[in-house]
């Protein structure tokens, strides 16, 4: 009997719930931290980004109209699916680390499994926020007049996320965007395999197609198009370097996008609600009373 040939995974984009290759047909090589070849990833073009925005916009009505409870359940479902594929994520994470033993003395395998645990916990944490953010971020406002005046948060719309590379970072940027009802287009450049494997999880998690779209490619090539896109309502610059972030901020001013600037993100720290509120708008209602 002949030796079995390995069946290797083709890493593709995730747009509108489907896994297309890049419209441009391009790809780029993903290497490990040591420089070894790991895989070829699709290199998205600006037209893929445009298509992803169209898909995200199409998904927005249904997703933002779903009950917060339902969105929370779906996020929780994603966590369940992640749980079932922990080993795959852990293996991919291990492939990207340079040292076999970290500063904290843990070996790579332990660190990888800790990272996946933290990502799943983070997702569950955000899932819980789905029906609570309105209570925390909304308010009944005292006013002088015969009105009941209240404010409630509403999703901004389509958000572009220049993603960080780690699984925990990805979950920590994507979950707060979508849990409140936004849809998003995520762009990952370095070590994008976790992002694509995450897409495979999203595709089987009851998440409607188009709510999360994931592109792999060069940030510098795609980000300015998303930043200046008039049908994108917010942009999270987390994965951008300083120069690109500055350029994107200028472009984003064209339609007054909500911009989240890159900070010193420690993904293991308590995230707080800042990432959720960054892509919320506030609707205030004046309801007449006593007439």
């Amino acid at each position: 009997m002949s030796e079995r040939l390995a069946v290797r995974k083709t890493y593709k984009l995730f747009i509108g719930g489907a896994f297309p290759r890049s419209e441009s047909g391009r790809s780029y090589v993903v290497t490990s931290a040591k420089g070894d070849f790991i895989a070829n990833a699709a290199r998205a073009s600006r037209k893929d980004a445009r298509d992803a925005v169209v898909a995200a916009r199409k998904a927005f009505g249904r997703w933002s109209g779903a009950t917060p409870y339902n969105r929370g359940q779906i996020l929780y479902r994603i966590a369940e699916m992640l749980e079932g594929r922990r080993s795959e994520f852990a293996d991919e994470f291990e492939g990207t680390v340079r040292r076999t033993r970290g500063k904290d003395g843990k070996d790579a395998a332990k660190r990888a499994s800790d990272e996946v645990d933290a990502a799943i916990d983070r997702l569950v944490w955000y899932a819980g926020w789905s029906d609570k953010i309105a209570a925390v971020h909304g308010s009944a406002n005292p006013i002088a007049g015969p009105y009941f005046n209240f404010s409630q948060p509403e999703p901004a719309g389509v958000v572009a996320v220049l993603g960080p590379t780690s699984l925990l970072g990805l979950i920590s940027t994507v979950a707060p965007v979508v849990v409140t009802g936004n849809t998003c287009v995520v762009v990952c450049e370095r070590a994008p395999l976790a992002a694509i494997t995450l897409a495979e999880v999203l595709a089987v998690s009851d998440l409607p197609g188009g709510v999360v779209n994931i592109l792999t490619g060069h940030l510098a090539e795609l980000a300015p198009w998303l930043a200046s896109h008039m049908d994108v309502n917010g942009i999270d610059l987390t994965g951008a370097d300083e120069r690109l972030a500055a350029e994107c901020e200028v472009a984003a001013a064209g339609n007054l996008k909500r911009v989240l600037r890159p900070g010193q993100d420690d993904w293991s720290a308590d995230p707080g609600v800042g990432r959720m509120t960054a892509f919320l708008e506030t609707k205030t209602v004046w309801h007449p009373i006593g007439v």
Partner: protein, 298 residues
């Protein structure tokens, strides 16, 4: 009539599909794309054919027909506004002096299931109200059961009722079942005096498709070669993006020839298409992708 129509060469279905698909892959970029978009805008029959149409909606549409986008004053105006007969007067008033034509559907649109008297009266009414163009539907039931004479005579009668107004004959290709029937219906309509032949009402799916338009364009080309009279073609229904519109323009140029790249001989019946054309136009002007929030809802 029957002998002539059945004597027309049969359509090679696979060939027609492949030729349309092949022409749809033409890459139209930069300057050519800009020209194509402006040409497509000038060929649009801006259409509203809903039961819920109001005079206010028609007036709003007419304003858009005159000035498709206030932010881009150099956009050409559209070719015509297409409404139901009872709203023709409203459109005529709103478009006076603009050069935009008023088209009206008539003859018991979209089914065409009415007696000839009613169809003629419908047409006479629309023309009296001031319609420049009449979009009539053929009796598909009669056509499919082989009563070509009846279809022919109805078109002749409606054409007579039109007077100076242009007559567009809707074949409703989605109900004609075969490409051979599309070719026969095209010839039948042209022989009966149609000024335009139009693919669909937009109420039946599939509406306009590239292969069907290809066959109709071949028919008008051959008809012009045989008789010297140029008949126009209108593709209507299901054309929603600028990309689709440009595919149709390529088809027109390659099949009927550049003479037909003119609002007088080719039209695109659409409503949501115009916004996409304007968005593409703005993208080319500003270099940024445009968003639908910045264009009118209609």
């Amino acid at each position: 009539m029957r002998a002539f129509l059945h004597g027309l060469p049969g359509v090679d279905q696979v060939g027609a599909d492949q030729r349309a698909a092949m022409l749809a892959t033409r890459s139209i970029k930069t300057t050519a794309k800009r020209q194509a978009i402006d040409l497509a805008v000038s060929m649009v029959d801006l259409t509203t054919l809903e039961g819920a149409d109001t005079p206010g909606k028609v007036r709003a549409l007419c304003v858009k027909a005159r000035h498709p986008d206030v932010a881009q004053p150099d956009v050409p105006r559209v070719a015509a506004v297409c409404v139901y007969p009872d709203l023709v007067a409203e459109a005529v008033t709103a478009l006076r002096g603009s050069g935009v034509k008023v088209a009206s559907v008539a003859t018991a649109f979209p089914s065409g299931r009415a007696t000839l008297d009613v169809k003629v009266a419908d047409t006479v009414h629309a023309v009296a109200e001031g319609a420049d163009e009449i979009d009539m539907v053929i009796d598909r039931g009669a056509f499919l059961s082989g009563r070509y004479g009846k279809v022919h005579d109805e078109i002749v009668a409606v054409k007579a009722a039109c007077g100076d107004a242009h007559l567009k004959v809707i074949l409703e290709t989605g109900e004609l079942a075969t490409y051979d029937n599309v070719r026969r219906a095209s010839w039948l309509s042209m022989l009966a005096g149609a000024d335009f032949i139009k693919t669909s009402t937009g109420k039946v799916s599939p509406a306009s498709t590239l292969p069907v338009t290809l066959i109709m364009l071949e028919a008008v080309r051959d008809f012009a070669a045989a008789t010297g009279r140029k008949v126009g073609v209108k593709s209507a229904g299901g054309i929603r993006t600028a990309k689709d519109a440009i595919k149709y323009l390529v088809l027109v140029n390659e099949t009927a020839g550049p003479d037909w790249l003119d609002p007088g001989l080719y039209r695109l019946g659409a409503s949501s298409l115009l916004n996409d054309l304007l968005m593409q136009r703005q993208k080319m002007a500003t270099g940024h992708y445009a968003g639908p929030d910045y264009f009118t809802l209609d």
